[in-house]
């Protein structure tokens, strides 16, 4: 079902072989209660995260990628959400953990970087104070020491003249600097896992590249495992070791970045990649698209939820396919499609033109 440690043998994450996952998610389901019934946002996700890897979760809006990652830190709890499943992290089961347990994990072991740094920073506190606050929350250090560590951290994320800029307020920073500041806050306690929810979406392209470089270098330096939630395949190619593709609340394909981006198996992944313009080659008059739109909320069909839009629908697609490896040679690469299951040869033509 899920990636087991010994299966990961290729790709950038080869060192994770025979290692235990640090975060292990099993059958995670998140549903939102609305007037018209329960809308399932996450529909049975199994996922393993290994120490020091960068795992990208890609999918379009509403695919459940944010709902999934946020439920790991107990964020969307409430009377209107129904969450089930398990997520084991450092001996704590995050889904059923008490607020008290979660508080000891949040910020210290699992930190989060948001999309909109301006909104995520308190407008009335100085940047340095906000970093120092994160440190004093989880480490027993004096205020002065925390301040020094905060300045150090701001320097580490590439903010020039950190001692001076620590006294600035968020509105005095540029978008890129704010994102750097938020990264500094998130990494202040050297967390094991960093969840980055669309960290570059609100930035312009050059700043995006800078922030990704920063994330990558800090991640290598500190050995942080990063879960990066994005809909930008460019970000994935740039930074991720492994990719999980989500569609309609389920993971439809998972594997190393090379496997998923260069040898996609699931028709949805193939369609997604086909609709991305290439850097080289002639500029097409129009990009290929996947016909139709994702099922909204409660109207999800039985069986494979991509079936209504899929060019290769089979009779079996009325039954939900399981996420499994279909090729013994690259067993870390899994997809949830009957095509692989039934070993029906797919013509090479359709692979490339879909």
């Amino acid at each position: 079902m899920a990636t087991s440690p010994e299966q990961s043998s290729s790709g950038a994450d080869g060192s994770s072989a025979a290692r235990e996952p640090i975060l292990s998610v099993r059958d995670l389901r998140v549903g939102f209660r609305t007037r018209s019934g329960v809308v399932p946002a996450v529909d049975g996700v199994d996922l393993d995260l290994y120490a020091g890897e960068v795992l990208a979760i890609v999918g379009e809006s509403g695919s459940g990628k944010s709902a999934m990652s946020m439920s790991l830190v107990g964020l969307n709890r409430g009377p209107r959400t129904m969450i089930s499943g398990t997520a084991h992290f450092r001996g704590i089961e995050l889904i059923s953990a008490s607020e008290r347990q979660l508080r000891s994990v949040r910020g210290k072991h699992i930190a989060v970087v948001f999309q909109d740094a301006l909104a995520a920073l308190n407008p009335l506190h100085r940047i340095g104070k906000q970093v120092a606050e994160m440190i004093t929350l989880h480490q027993k250090v004096s205020g002065r020491r925390a301040k020094d560590m905060a300045v150090q951290m701001l320097g580490d994320v590439g903010i020039s003249n950190p001692r001076h800029n620590a006294e600035a307020y968020p509105h005095q920073f540029s978008g890129g600097m704010r994102q750097r500041a938020m990264t500094a806050i998130a990494l202040a306690n050297d967390p094991t896992v960093l969840i980055a929810d669309e960290p570059t979406t609100a930035l312009d392209v050059t700043i995006q590249a800078q922030i990704l470089d920063l994330l990558k270098s800090l991640q290598r330096e500190l050995g942080t495992a990063v879960v990066i939630v994005t809909h930008d395949l460019g970000v994935v190619a740039d930074i991720a070791d492994r990719v999980a593709v989500m569609y309609s609340g389920r993971i439809v394909e998972i594997g190393t970045t090379e496997q998923v981006l260069y040898a996609p198996k699931h028709p949805y992944t193939r369609g997604l990649l086909a609709s991305t313009p290439g850097v080289t080659g002639p500029i097409p008059a129009s990009l290929p698209t996947i016909p139709g739109s994702p099922p909204m909320g409660a109207e999800r069909p039985d069986g494979c939820s991509f079936a209504p839009r899929c060019a290769f629908v089979l009779r079996e697609c009325a039954t939900t396919p399981i996420l499994a490896s279909h090729d013994p040679s690259d067993s870390g690469h899994q997809d949830a499609c009957w095509l692989g299951e039934l070993t029906i040869p797919v013509p090479d033509e359709s692979r490339s033109t879909l």
Partner: protein
């Protein structure tokens, strides 16, 4: 920046000095600030500069304004009107400030807890608040004061109880709005405890509307304080108080109208000025103005 000479620009006035330090201010707003500050200074320091005892009765009753030794005349018991007016500022302004302070503290606490917690805690706190708000304020204050007995402290209690719900409602609404913002989420995800999120993260972001509400409440509380003293449930004679002075002077409304006009005007000026200061603050904290 070159310091502009008073001669080649707007004449250097107190208002332009204030504008230089605190930003543009309307004439009305400027006047209101001056009046409120003047009244506060009067209440705090005024009695120190008035040598005449406000309670000392002299044979010269109902002396007119401008009498020797009594610049504002005397009342029906021959007490110096100026001294009574200056001493009368303290109870009214003091009661207004104290009850506003307590109402703000209690209301803000309730509002923060309700807005932060949501769910049944929110419902319980806000429906209780609605219950108090449903009572006409004056009636509620009279009820509380008549249970505990007249005097400054029952009056402060009464006005506090009557004013706290509007703070609770305001803060709860503002807090609920802030809850949806990412900085609160990111504080939660940093592992911050709830009380700290409420006081350190959310509360500072509510300063503007809260200050406006404080000024409005001071003016309303001052009105209640004067009104309650007027009907005999507040400051008790012989202690000078503007509200009580108006009541006592009623019988001389034709013979010596200044005895009513002076304390009534003082009360009115203070109440209205507080309101306009509130308006000025509202303008200053209105972020849309800057966009």
């Amino acid at each position: 920046m070159r310091v502009t000479q008073p001669s080649d620009s707007v004449p250097l006035s107190l208002r332009s000095l204030a504008a230089r330090r605190f930003g543009a201010v309307s004439w009305v707003g400027f006047a209101a600030w001056i009046i409120v500050i003047a009244f506060l200074l009067l209440a705090v320091f005024g009695p120190l500069f008035i040598a005449t005892d406000p309670l000392r009765q002299t044979p010269g009753a109902l002396l007119p304004i401008g009498s020797p030794g009594h610049p504002l005349g005397t009342d029906n018991l021959g007490r110096d009107e100026l001294s009574r007016l200056v001493h009368g500022a303290r109870p009214l302004i003091g009661i207004a400030l104290l009850s506003t302070l307590f109402a703000a503290l209690i209301g803000t606490t309730i509002g923060l807890i309700a807005g932060y917690s949501g769910g049944w805690i929110d419902q319980l706190l806000m429906r209780t608040t609605d219950l108090v708000l449903a009572f006409p304020s004056l009636l509620l204050i009279i009820l509380l004061v008549s249970v505990t007995g007249a005097g400054p402290f029952p009056l402060v209690t009464g006005i506090t109880v009557a004013m706290a719900p509007s703070f609770a409602r305001l803060v709860r609404a503002l807090c609920a709005r802030e809850m949806a913002r990412d900085y609160v989420t990111s504080a939660t995800l940093a592992g911050t405890r709830a009380p700290r999120i409420m006081l350190v993260e959310i509360l500072p972001n509510l300063t503007g509307p809260l200050l406006v509400q404080v000024m409005t409440t001071i003016s309303v509380a001052a009105g209640f304080s004067a009104g309650m003293s007027y009907i005999g449930l507040g400051i008790q004679p012989p202690q000078p108080d503007w509200g009580y002075m108006v009541q006592a002077a009623q019988q001389f409304i034709y013979s010596q109208p200044s005895l009513i006009i002076l304390p009534a005007t003082c009360t009115l000026l203070f109440v209205v000025a507080c309101n306009f200061v509130g308006d000025d603050l509202r303008d200053r904290f209105d972020l849309r103005r800057d966009l």
